[in-house]
């Protein structure tokens, strides 16, 4: 059980604002906090390029503040803990991001994120702000069966969309092309998560759900959403052997495919464990004739101190590989 009631915070009601202050103070060369509480690039991208905006609940750091920067997002609107920001704040974000070539609002598919983005787009219409669109993104195979992909949740695998869409929007593509690219990456991405522990809410100090010490759950969401059910905790190899096949079957990923791999740390897994898990992933992919182009292992979208991980694969072609390798300079996502 890794849930930890005592968090190093001050007043619970100030968590998000203090966190944004601290983040922007530490990484002032990359990100800046506006008077409206938006996290924007320290140096805005050149005019005439499509801007990328994302609103999302806090508590998943470094997502998404760590993804503001060159080759990544333009503006992040941080909501309260696990709570999407309201539509007017998203509208502020859209206005702050606009570089004259349209704004794409990215939505990691969860009810709050979607509903507020929809409302924000309605506000744009009311205010006559044109050339704004949104793209709804999802990757978690445990949250709805194959054939009903648009009902799935957005989880760690959107990592691939953020990176490649960010690189794309440093180029000259227009808004429609950016949206199409995001959908292309999304439609080639599949993820599945697991967890060994719960975590505590930093606001209330309460454990989010109970989790026996010798069990694990496959398919848990980014906020502790129930997955496919509990079972006895397994070894690293057994866990991958359980999780990888359904991911491969879902797309399906096939012999000859080239993929990017992400092992996302939900919080308190050790890197040692993630490397050991990765070894098995690499072996199994090699057996299946699937080539790994590049991999990333670390905490990119966390759920507080939850001990778990998500495994995400993204099938790539030459276009996506080039976007993957393009320069990026967010505080927590760097590509030289």
């Amino acid at each position: 059980m890794s849930a930890r009631a005592h968090k190093l915070i001050n007043q619970p009601q100030n968590i998000v604002s203090e966190m944004l202050d601290g983040f922007c103070a530490a990484y002032g060369d990359i990100a800046r906090l506006t008077d409206e509480g938006l996290v924007v690039r320290a140096t805005p991208k050149a005019p005439g390029k499509v801007a990328l905006v994302i609103g999302c609940g806090s508590g998943h750091e470094p997502a998404m503040i760590g993804w503001i920067g060159e080759g990544l997002f333009d503006v992040n609107i941080a909501g309260e803990i696990f709570t999407a920001p309201g539509p007017e704040r998203i509208l502020q974000g859209i206005k702050a991001a606009d570089r004259g070539a349209g704004v794409l609002v990215c939505v990691s598919h969860h009810a709050g994120d979607l509903l507020n983005a929809e409302l924000a787009l309605e506000l744009c219409e009311l205010e006559g702000i044109a050339n704004v669109d949104m793209v709804v993104l999802y990757d978690d195979i445990s949250s709805a069966p194959k054939g009903r992909e648009p009902e799935r949740r957005g989880t760690a695998g959107l990592f691939f969309v953020w990176k490649m869409l960010g690189a794309f929007c440093e180029g000259d593509g227009d808004l429609a092309a950016a949206k199409a690219l995001a959908e292309k990456v999304r439609d080639n991405t599949r993820s599945l998560a697991m967890s060994l522990s719960s975590c505590a809410s930093p606001v209330t100090g309460q454990v989010m759900f109970e989790m026996p010490e010798d069990e694990m759950e496959i398919g848990m969401g980014l906020h502790g959403e129930m997955g496919m059910g509990r079972q006895k905790a397994l070894s690293a190899g057994e866990t991958i052997d359980l999780m990888l096949p359904p991911i491969l079957e879902d797309l399906p990923f096939q012999a000859g495919d080239e993929v990017l791999v992400l092992l996302n740390n939900s919080g308190s897994l050790t890197l040692m464990e993630l490397f050991i898990l990765y070894k098995r992933v690499a072996e199994k992919l090699a057996e299946a004739g699937i080539r790994v182009y590049r991999s990333w292992i670390g905490p990119y979208a966390t759920t507080q101190e939850m001990a778990g991980f998500a495994l995400s694969l993204c099938r790539v072609d030459d276009e996506l590989k080039a976007l993957w390798d393009a320069r990026a300079n967010g505080a927590y996502m760097k590509q030289l």
Partner: protein, 213 residues
């Protein structure tokens, strides 16, 4: 009293805000059982904000009062519930646009539009263990009574029964759906808030008309 002006409308929202503030901890506890434990804190803060914003409007029209409430809920709460409670008020703005005073029929329309908006946005139906379980019966009961004085208590009772009915349901929307059967036995916080809102409106109406007679 047949017509309701802006002062009454404002007072109605103040009554709601007061009732919700008094129930803050109870709503948090309900949400702790089914969700993330913040419902009381976030909705009471949003209504407090609403009251403060309304106090700042010099001479608001009914539609402005409803719009201000919608904005304070949407933007103050955030999340799905902020969008949904906000929508409940936002969709009521159009039917009363331009009006100085509201009659029973205006309320019928305003609640109907709000309910339709919430259902369209949240995709929840009766039985899904959400605010809709309290809101839909309340709106129907309100509309079923031609007499506005009878409509408020009928709505309040329907909302309260609806909220209580959520106790035995398995959630199909909202965070509680990830609890599955483990959510049985717990009353939905959003539905409870709806019940509290209609109870507050009923009390307000009763006091006001008592004062008037």
């Amino acid at each position: 009293m047949r017509e309701i002006g802006s002062d009454n409308l404002k007072a109605m929202l103040i009554a709601i805000a007061g009732r919700i503030a008094d129930s803050r901890e109870r709503l948090n506890r309900l949400d702790a059982a089914l969700g993330d434990g913040d419902h009381g804190a976030s909705i009471s803060a949003a209504f407090e904000k609403t009251v403060a914003e309304l106090a700042r409007l010099p001479d608001p029209k009914p539609s402005e009062i409803w719009l201000t409430t919608a904005r304070c809920l949407m933007n103050g709460m955030g999340g799905a519930s902020g969008a949904l409670f906000g929508t409940l008020f936002l969709k009521g703005v159009a039917p009363i646009q331009g009006k100085e005073r509201l009659v029973k029929a205006d309320f019928d329309e305003l609640w109907a539009a709000g309910l339709a908006g919430v259902k369209a946005r949240g995709k929840a139906e009766i039985g899904d263990k959400t605010m809709v379980d309290a809101l839909q019966p309340a709106v129907l009961a309100f509309a079923a009574n031609d007499n506005i004085a009878a409509a408020w208590p009928a709505a309040a009772e329907a909302a309260s029964n609806g909220a209580e009915s959520t106790r035995e349901l398995i959630a199909r929307q909202g965070r509680a759906k990830y609890l599955g059967e483990r959510g049985i036995g717990h009353q939905d916080p959003g539905a409870t808030t709806i019940a509290l809102m209609f109870e507050a409106l009923d009390s307000y109406w009763r006091e006001m008309t008592n004062g008037k007679t």
